[in-house]
Subunit: 428 residues, 2 copies
């Protein structure tokens, strides 16, 4: 049991440096838990000389991560370069082909090529693990694939992008507009200079696609995820939603319907008093609902060097122990290609209309909803401005097709002064 497990780290950004620091500080502890020493033998990054705040002088340097992945003295490749193709994929493929285990934090790579990678890993008899790709330090892949393995999973839902949750939280707290809060978040380092990957929902969608595969035994399908970002979430809707007892979150939801797999990452209303509704700031939260366990909720830091290194090291320790389960919780060849649930599940919706303040308008809106079979749970009309009166409606559960038909009809009314807003309400 004392043969060391030897790591190569591809990528020395904050996460890669975090892994170096973790082994420097907790190496003894990790060895005790892994049953053998875990040591870094080689590293690779774009720039050799850059100061990363960690000592890498004891490790072999490789300019080429692919060459590093093939080194004879490496047992596990830690891939923390990022990117769905390019060097990250090339190095991962090289490692698997050379019989090395791979631990990756790369959600883009796994969401796009996870099935192929998992099949290659299993053919080669090595492990491929990606706990760090989903919800940072929260051990949620493990919880789904192992800790809740006896359950038929009914639904996975959660807030999986800290940047978006931070922006929405601050908008609600301060009443500032989206663009202003985003600019502040960029200054504070909570949002990237190019934020589209976060605020557009794709970062979180990739995580959701990975969780869905583990939850439902399906091939990871990033193209099947309905993705909508927070760019169009308005302060008006945040405020009105709060008035009605809800908060708006960029919420990921995965469930298996009769017609196929439904995965959506989009702004939703959740009850303000629910655990997800109360979640503030950059923290992530994932809830898993199983037929026997009921609901388990996990909350923690969704990003950052320390939490991501923590998730990487959990996978490394499992591999060192010889206890690594398959990437998606069962053999890759047994994962099924589920159809995408076209209609999706029914839901209640929050609707906002700007209507002319003239007699009979509300009746026309209600009639249009009724013609689509949509019944109204709650309605509020606010004091009208010069041109229109804001009307809020919370519907009972309805399908999206029926809703879209009604919204089209209402948008065509002369009295409808603005594009109707419809936001899904998710039970949480």
């Amino acid at each position: 049991m004392s043969t060391p497990m030897r790591l190569a780290i591809a990528g020395l950004g904050t996460v890669g440096a975090g892994v170096v620091r973790m082994l420097a500080e907790n190496g003894d502890l990790i060895a005790a838990r892994a049953g053998r020493p875990v040591e870094i033998v080689a590293v690779s990054a774009r720039s050799r000389g850059r100061d990363r705040g960690v000592d890498i002088s004891g490790f072999a340097w490789e300019d080429d991560p692919v060459a590093m992945a093939r080194r004879e003295d490496v047992d596990v490749l830690i891939e923390v370069m990022g990117g769905e193709d390019g060097p990250a994929r090339a190095a991962t493929l090289a490692a698997l082909a050379s019989g090395k285990h791979v631990v990756t934090a790369n959600k883009a790579l796994m969401a796009r090529h996870g099935q192929d990678m998992a099949e290659r890993a299993e053919s080669a008899g090595v492990a491929l693990r990606h706990e760090a790709a989903v919800a940072g330090g929260i051990p949620v892949v493990k919880a789904l694939a192992e800790g809740l393995a006896g359950n038929r999973i009914d639904r996975v839902l959660g807030v999986m992008n800290g940047t978006c949750n931070y922006i929405l939280t601050v908008m609600e707290e301060t009443g500032a507009a989206y663009a202003d809060v985003l600019a502040d978040a960029q200054k504070l380092g909570y949002a990237e200079a190019d934020p589209v990957f976060d605020v557009g929902g794709m970062d979180a969608a990739q995580k959701l696609a990975l969780l869905a595969a583990a939850a439902f035994g399906t091939k990871v399908d990033i193209d099947g995820v309905v993705v909508e970002g927070i760019e169009r979430v308005s302060l008006t809707d945040i405020t009105h939603a709060a008035d009605m007892g809800y908060r708006i979150k960029l919420l990921g939801v995965a469930r298996m319907n009769e017609g196929g797999l439904e995965t959506r990452m989009q702004p939703c209303l959740v009850p303000a008093e629910s655990a997800l509704g109360q979640l503030e700031g950059v923290t992530n939260m994932v809830a898993v609902e199983g037929d026997f366990v009921g609901r388990v909720v996990m909350q923690g830091p969704g990003a950052g060097a320390g939490p991501t290194a923590s998730a990487i090291m959990a996978d490394v320790v499992d591999i060192a122990r010889g206890l690594a389960m398959p990437a998606f919780g069962r053999p890759a060849e047994s994962l099924v290609a589920a159809p995408v649930s076209a209609e999706g599940s029914e839901a209640a919706y929050y609707l906002r209309f700007g209507l002319a303040d003239s007699p009979g308008v509300l009746a026309k809106v209600a009639a249009a909803l009724g013609r689509s079979g949509i019944s109204i749970n709650r309605m509020r009309q606010y004091e009208h401005s010069e041109t229109e009166a804001p009307v809020l409606i919370v519907t009972h559960r309805t399908g999206r097709a029926a809703l879209d038909a009604a919204l089209t009809e209402i948008a065509g009314l002369d009295a409808c002064r603005a594009e109707p807003v419809a936001i899904r309400i998710e039970d949480a």
Copy 2:
């Protein structure tokens, strides 16, 4: 991979019946995740004829769980009888001695004999697992021992007894007294006819002792846990705590101090707006703080047939996959016997005094605290009754010995009309 894994279930109460039902309903799914069929071959309970709502006619019946544990056709003993000694221990020892894996939901057994059991399991080369013994369906043992394995754990804290949390929640919501709420909880089935194991704190203390072993690599030490129940929590203190922004929870806290391991299960004040403060009803919540990950919080059902069966099956699936780590996350022989931290960590305290309404009394109390080096963070005096004025003090952090010295001095004052109340405030 198609050799079935064969289970024997010792105990057919609600949990044992839940395991039977889970395999009947989700057997295919479990086989897919486990990589092989999982089937029950034998069962044992006190009464054969009782209707349990599940069909056990396909399983061999054994009157004696010890004989069942030794059956040649059994790979894993599921021990759900309960009890720290007696048949549960005898059957477990027989199983381990016969080279069978053991999965147990028995916190009393594991808290008392866990070290011995783990050593026997490792000598025999079999697994001993107890996820179901801690926090019901929440996969928290797995999170600690595997999912956060790269971290030095700073603190584990949580609410681990649903009965107590239900009682405290209802007391706060309704203003009813402890005894009345307990009686109602017994009628509703949320509390046992003999509730002392729950309300006295021992049930939760056993769970905490098990978590501490996994968190800190120590031998499980139930006798080292400071245990105090909720029987003496008064409505007065719940109300005053709420006024000051806190809620009272039966809180388990484990941390490693310089002087040794500190484990305490006792009523504490936690900030009302914290996740633990907001926890209501029978739900359990465990927070784990690690040096790299920060804080991860897990929440879910802490008891019941379904959640407990879920935890048991997770362990079963790990064993079927050949992926079962040691009971406490590292080899039993490497676990250390940590001394009990005598003084414990410093904390702020909530103090309540009933003082005579006469000049200079408050000064004497403040002086006594000052002489023990305790400084006051906040103080409130309420309108006096006929005999006394309630005075609340929130202290700055202090050691318990200093506090006890001050409380003894204050209790000895002529003007002190009631036994002083002191409740620890835990950062949460």
